[in-house]
């Protein structure tokens, strides 16, 4: 029965999309140099700065603030490295060429990577939630936990687009360095490690330039620590940012 349906060319692709996503996820999960840092760093940092040093055992402000911002930090890493490095390597090594020659359904390659990033984002959200609710004593309503997860999962898109664009420009060996040069300063300057109020004023005024700042503000709004900007504006900036970099990357890939 399934075979009869699957043999119709128009019905087969859903399986290809599903497998493409599944194996993209497995492929990265089995790459320790990707999976370990991207899954561990946000959690270890949260444990260190949110729980141990932040004095956050009583569910204090630091623990709530950093729960939101380390979530953003974590999903940025997954998206930037998951797209930037793998696309650059796939281009270098000819996998992208082979996929383009094969009858892979349209968009499966990018959709699979996006799904992979969202799965990793979910894993990071769950681990942070576990640390926050147990060790740091953060109490949120079920709706807040759900929204935080939603922000993290949907928030991968602008960074996937940026990572994709970097991946179309760099070689596989250069891309991790390039991404780190963008990723870490941007995280710091967006107040993901320290609230911007603790830094010189100039950083707070510069912050709206960074997409991570806008995503962090949305996540902080969920836990009641945002700087008070309009939600619609943050969403619009992120959507525009995603569209621009996806367009740039698409043009590079088509060339």
């Amino acid at each position: 029965m399934m075979d009869a349906i699957a043999s119709r060319p128009s019905a087969a692709p859903w399986r290809a999309y599903a497998l493409e996503a599944r194996y993209e996820f497995l492929r990265l999960l089995r790459t320790p140099s990707f999976a370990l840092p991207t899954l561990l760093f946000p959690n270890v940092f949260y444990l260190l700065f949110g729980v141990l040093l932040g004095g956050g055992r009583g569910g204090g402000d630091a623990a709530r603030y950093l729960l939101a911002t380390y979530g953003v930090f974590g999903i940025m890493g997954v998206s930037l490295f998951g797209f930037g490095v793998t696309v650059a390597m796939d281009r270098d090594q000819g996998l992208l060429t082979l996929k383009r020659a094969l009858p892979m359904p349209p968009g499966a390659y990018l959709l699979a990577k996006t799904a992979m990033a969202m799965l990793f984002a979910t894993a990071i959200s769950l681990m942070l939630a576990l640390l926050a609710s147990t060790l740091a004593g953060v109490h949120l309503s079920p709706a807040q936990w759900g929204l935080l997860w939603l922000v993290n999962v949907a928030g991968v898109l602008p960074f996937c687009a940026l990572g994709l664009w970097i991946g179309t420009l760099c070689t596989g060996s250069a891309s991790p360095a390039v991404i780190n040069l963008i990723y870490l300063p941007m995280a710091f300057l967006s107040g993901l490690w320290l609230p911007l109020a603790m830094l010189p004023d100039i950083f707070a005024r510069l912050a709206p330039v960074w997409p991570s700042h806008h995503l962090a503000q949305i996540a902080l709004e969920v836990v009641g620590h945002d700087a008070g900007g309009a939600l619609g504006m943050h969403v619009a900036v992120l959507l525009a940012f995603s569209a621009v970099f996806f367009f740039l990357a698409h043009r590079r890939l088509a060339a």
Binding site: A6, S7, R8, P9, A12, R15, A16, L19, E20, Y23, L26, R27, R30, T31, D90, Q93, G94, L95, T97, L98, R100, A101, L102, P103, M104, P105, P106
Partner: protein, 303 residues
């Protein structure tokens, strides 16, 4: 139309230029059903570009590329092809079973996994990660990925590069089996004996154009030369001066002579060296024909 059955794939007057390099200068190529066509040419002749156009990876500047009568960039056209590219990496961390499952999912009517394993010789490798296989095993996996969609046309770009003789012959056997089942193949190879062993038809390209095409025998007939080998004490310098002798080399106590016609040279060899033994006469192989063809082609352009 001269041929009643349209070819599976076709390049018509295809031209492609990369900057200053004219990779294809009006190449015509027909790949008929059920045949193995070998595309031969020196490095930079345009083989890779020809394949890239037929796979829809690149677009011709002028002329046409067709796959099953369609633009190769259309998915519907590529659903009937299998591809083994020379420089294609496969994700190291995926298992062979997973790679085959993924590639099969792209096709409407794929070959069964058991058939893929049998044809490509993957017994016992299915649960291994690709990156942990030997080079020869990886080539077999790539071959399995190329055939798993039950293609009507298979592109094999240098499929046996880096394989030992036994592995190469195993792959030749699988390729013959596929052709016997009606699958057409476009093969490029550095090993001319590979084309000689497999090809129904050979197209030699150079400078982005087809300079000769026909059966292996027809291509070989482009060179009338014979190769004569024997154990003899005659000096190569003396033999080289004989009429009809093109080239002489000595290797130990052996002489190797290339001549336009063997009979007169052999007669004279036997007359001048009564102790001569182990005489062998061979027709020039595809390799000789190939060198001759591409050299002839290169001369007028160099002048």
């Amino acid at each position: 139309m001269t041929s009643p059955i349209p070819p599976l794939a076709r390049l018509q007057d295809a031209q492609k230029r990369y900057g200053k390099v004219q990779a294809l200068a009006g190449l015509d190529l027909d790949i008929p059903a059920g045949q193995l066509l070998a595309l031969l040419g020196p490095n930079g002749a345009g083989k890779t570009t020809a394949i890239a156009l037929l796979l829809g990876l690149q677009q011709a500047d002028a002329g046409r590329a067709e796959l099953f009568g369609l633009d190769p960039r259309q998915l519907a056209a590529r659903r009937h092809i299998g591809v083994m590219l020379q420089s294609a990496a496969v994700p190291d961390t995926l298992k062979v079973r997973e790679l085959i499952a993924l590639t099969r999912s792209y096709y409407p009517d794929p070959r069964s996994v058991a058939d893929c394993v049998a044809l490509a010789g993957l017994d016992g490798l299915m649960e291994r990660r690709y990156g942990r296989l030997s080079g020869g095993q990886q080539r077999r996996v790539q071959f399995a990925l190329a055939i798993c969609g039950r293609p009507r046309l298979l592109f094999l770009d240098e499929p046996t590069t880096g394989l030992d003789i036994e592995a190469r012959q195993g792959l030749w056997k699988a390729i013959r089996e596929l052709v016997a089942q009606g699958c057409a193949v476009l093969l490029t190879t550095h090993y001319l004996e590979e084309a000689e062993a497999l090809a129904d038809r050979v197209v030699v390209i150079d400078g982005g154009r087809a300079i000769a095409q026909g059966s292996v025998a027809e291509i070989r007939a482009h060179v009338v030369q014979r190769r004569i080998r024997c154990v003899s004490s005659l000096s190569p310098d003396i033999v080289a001066a004989w009429p009809e002798v093109g080239y002489v080399a000595r290797e130990g106590d052996r002489l190797e002579i290339v001549a336009d016609a063997a009979e007169a040279v052999v007669r004279r060899l036997l007359a001048e060296d009564p102790a001569l033994c182990e005489l062998e006469v061979q027709r020039a192989g595809l390799a000789d024909a190939f060198i001759e063809l591409t050299r002839k082609h290169a001369l007028p352009e160099a002048a």
